[in-house]
């Protein structure tokens, strides 16, 4: 490496400009480490690699043998150590065993659904109504109706929203050999389990 030769022709870079380029390179290198510091900012929805129990409000774990057909409970996921955080709407999920006509009598995971209770319209909490003639999720605020089989809004304001904001986020479930229900590690993505309050694409 030697200094640039003294004569400066048309395509030669002057010494001063060379110095400037070096200074620019040094400045870029100095501030490079701080690019990665951007990771400090986001707070992604907690994703784990472990299965979690489907814990019913009475503290027991849901079991296919005991959980009634055409019935629903509110569950908390992901569960925190902090009781205040557990009351947060974005952590509440509607755990449903489908009615008989939708395959709710089967003793496997296909008979169960877990949808985010946060309505996709304006974030009220909807719930499942098992009465004959209803058998659907209903939002108390503006009357959005949700299909328990798919989680899609079929009437009301949320049904008019374009995908993915018309289908509820959903948790994947698993049944172990004793019949207990587990929540599989979620993928918080519109193409995966969906984003709470925003929606999910149906494959």
């Amino acid at each position: 490496m030697s200094t640039p030769p003294a004569p400066r022709g048309e395509d030669k870079i002057s010494r001063r400009d060379f110095l400037k380029l070096l200074a620019a390179a040094g400045t870029v290198l100095t501030f490079t480490p701080f690019v990665d510091w951007g990771k400090f900012l986001p707070n992604p929805s907690g994703s784990t690699t472990e299965k979690a129990k489907v814990e019913l409000p009475d503290g027991s774990q849901a079991n296919v043998k005991t959980f009634k057909v055409n019935h629903s409970e509110a569950i908390i996921y992901p569960r925190s150590e902090d009781p205040t955080l557990n009351e947060e709407a974005f952590r509440t999920w509607q755990f449903i065993r489908l009615p008989q006509e939708l395959g709710g009598e089967k003793n496997d995971a296909s008979a169960f659904r877990a949808y985010s209770m946060v309505c996709l319209h304006l974030w009220c909490l909807w719930k499942y109504w098992p009465q004959d003639g209803r058998k659907r999720g209903e939002c108390p605020c503006h009357g959005t109706l949700y299909d328990p089989l798919t989680g899609a809004a079929f009437a009301g304001p949320a049904a008019l929203q374009s995908p993915p904001s018309n289908v509820l986020p959903r948790l994947d479930l698993e049944v172990d050999k004793d019949g207990y229900l587990w929540i599989l590690p979620p993928n918080w993505n519109v193409n995966g389990n969906g984003i709470v309050g925003f929606g999910r694409f149906i494959a």
Binding site: M1, I13, S14, L19, G26, T30, P33
Partner: protein
């Protein structure tokens, strides 16, 4: 690539447009100086204090994203920042060490102004606002280390609350206003003071405190930033123990800028006298110093009494600060025995420091004047500055860039390996290397602007001038310039002003000068 450095691209034009728009703002009233060579940082310690304040503002604002000012979550949220959030450890450590650096820098700044007599010549308002700023800075730091709500914070808050309460007449109401009704209020109110009320007061006072002439020295600023990061890497701030009202707290001492006060409190005298009146008298003395200093001269050597008062205050600050840290290590004694400082011992030492400091000042002035007289008698020593030739500037610069690349990789791998403090340390080194690099760049530019007398270089310069002129399409002047180049050369040699060349060349003088100024 070459062209892009000379041509005005749209980005450069945008920056120029923004810069010209600043003409209508308050910033043009300030005179910013960017030193073109190394100057002693003693003259711009205030600017460095302000830079640290900005660092604290940025890191503090980021920490606000994760900190929870709630009684039972404050400590846990800080632990979460420290252990789990990416770069939370880094930001917390920078914030903590920068707070210490800001207090230290403010104290150094004050004493430099004090001994150099800068509070004279109608700078009294700057001095008075500066003292208030210093007090608020300490309060800001104090509220900051309390809102983690560790054992030490609880101790500090309980002392502060009882001191406030001890103020006659208004004390109890002040206590209610600042501390509220319980632990929950402590955390929330101190948080509000720490992140909003005190910083707003600081910024407001700073607008009064800023002189019109400001020095912004990039290498020194980056070196200070690097030093803060390195300190954070070597001495990571601890979490302390979460405050638990069911567990008796261990012995903790406050931060170093409050241990002086702590020493007085431990002498078991009346709370108001030791904890409020003594520091109040100290601050009041500092406030009125410019009005009792009637010396006509500025130098500390010519103001013996004022200098002696300053030295006395430094001696007493050092002694009490150290004393406040000291706790009898003999664990067989009771807690109270270990903590209490004998007031007669403490106050007699304080008094003994006064004649000692006056004597020391007298000695120093004598020595300094002698040295001055000797220096006058002896022949002036010629300075031998370190000068790098242009070639070596490039070598050193490229070596430093290589070192930067290595450090970047090392910092990243340290983080991947979970060694957060090492990564912070290395990033601090990167800042220091940048400071060195900028210094060399500055040196190189000075060389380029004031080339050493060498005829080869001058003819180069004229050739390049011809080239530039030709590139502007001013072809008819070209032969004229060439013929007068001998003439121009002698002129450059005689006064070194390149603008003379353009005078010889005649036309387009302004555009040429603009071009040179850009460089």
């Amino acid at each position: 690539m070459v062209a892009s450095l000379h041509k005005e691209n749209s980005l450069v034009r945008l920056f120029r447009w923004i810069y010209s728009g600043l003409d209508r703002t308050i910033f043009m009233g300030l005179k910013f100086t960017f030193p073109t060579r190394f100057v002693s940082p003693l003259g711009f310690l205030g600017m460095l204090t302000f830079v640290i304040f900005i660092i604290l503002g940025i890191t503090g604002a980021l920490l606000m994203l994760w900190y929870e000012p709630i009684l039972d979550r404050a400590w846990d949220s800080v632990e979460n920042i420290n252990d789990n959030i990416p770069y939370g450890f880094h930001l917390r450590n920078i914030h903590y060490h920068a707070s210490n650096a800001m207090v230290m820098m403010a104290i150094l700044h004050m004493y430099y102004q004090y001994f150099s007599g800068r509070y004279k010549i109608r700078n009294e308002i700057l001095w008075v606002t500066g003292i208030i700023l210093g007090v608020l800075t300490i309060l800001e730091a104090f509220t900051g280390y309390d809102i983690i709500f560790s054992e030490r914070a609880e101790l500090a808050i309980s002392i502060a609350a009882s001191l406030t309460n001890s103020i006659p007449i208004i004390g109890p109401d002040m206590r209610d206003a600042f501390f509220g009704a319980g632990f929950h209020d402590f955390v929330l109110r101190f948080y509000a003071f720490h992140v909003f009320l005190l910083p707003i007061a600081l910024i407001g006072l700073m607008t009064v405190h800023f002189p019109r002439f400001l020095v912004f020295d990039v290498p020194m600023v980056m070196a200070i930033t690097g030093a803060i990061m390195i300190t954070g890497g070597v001495f990571p701030v601890e979490m302390g123990l979460k405050f638990d009202p069911n567990v008796p707290p261990g012995i903790t001492v406050p931060e170093w800028y409050l241990t002086g006060l702590y020493a007085f409190l431990r002498s078991q005298y009346d709370k108001f006298v030791t904890g409020v009146a003594w520091p109040g008298i100290f601050i009041f003395t500092l406030l009125i110093i410019p009005f009792i200093d009637k010396y006509k001269k500025f130098s500390w050597k010519d103001r013996p009494i004022i200098s002696a008062i300053g030295i006395t205050s430094i001696a007493q600050i050092v002694v009490t600060t150290y004393w406040g840290f000291y706790i009898d290590p003999d664990r067989t004694k009771s807690l109270l025995e270990r903590l209490v400082i004998d007031p007669i011992f403490l106050y007699s030492v304080m008094l003994a420091l006064v004649p000692l400091s006056f004597g020391f000042t007298y000695l120093m002035i004598k020595l300094a004047k002698n040295a001055e007289a000797n220096a006058k008698r002896q022949p002036k020593r010629t300075e031998s500055p370190i000068t790098l030739s242009e070639k070596w500037i490039y070598f050193v610069f490229i070596a430093l860039i290589g070192f930067q690349i290595y450090l970047n990789i090392a910092a990243y791998y340290a983080l991947l390996a979970g060694m957060k403090n090492i990564s912070l340390f290395i990033i601090g080194i990167i800042m220091l290397v940048f400071a060195g690099m900028f210094h060399i760049y500055r040196h190189g530019r000075t060389i380029a602007n004031n080339p050493p007398p060498s005829s080869v270089q001058y003819s180069d310069k004229i050739k390049s001038l011809q080239h530039r002129r030709a590139s502007l399409g001013d072809a008819e002047d070209k032969p004229k310039l060439a013929s007068s180049s001998e003439n121009a050369l002698s002129q450059i040699k005689s006064n070194g002003l390149l603008s003379k060349v353009f005078k010889v060349a005649g036309k387009n003088k302004n555009s040429f000068e603009k071009m040179w100024r850009k460089d």
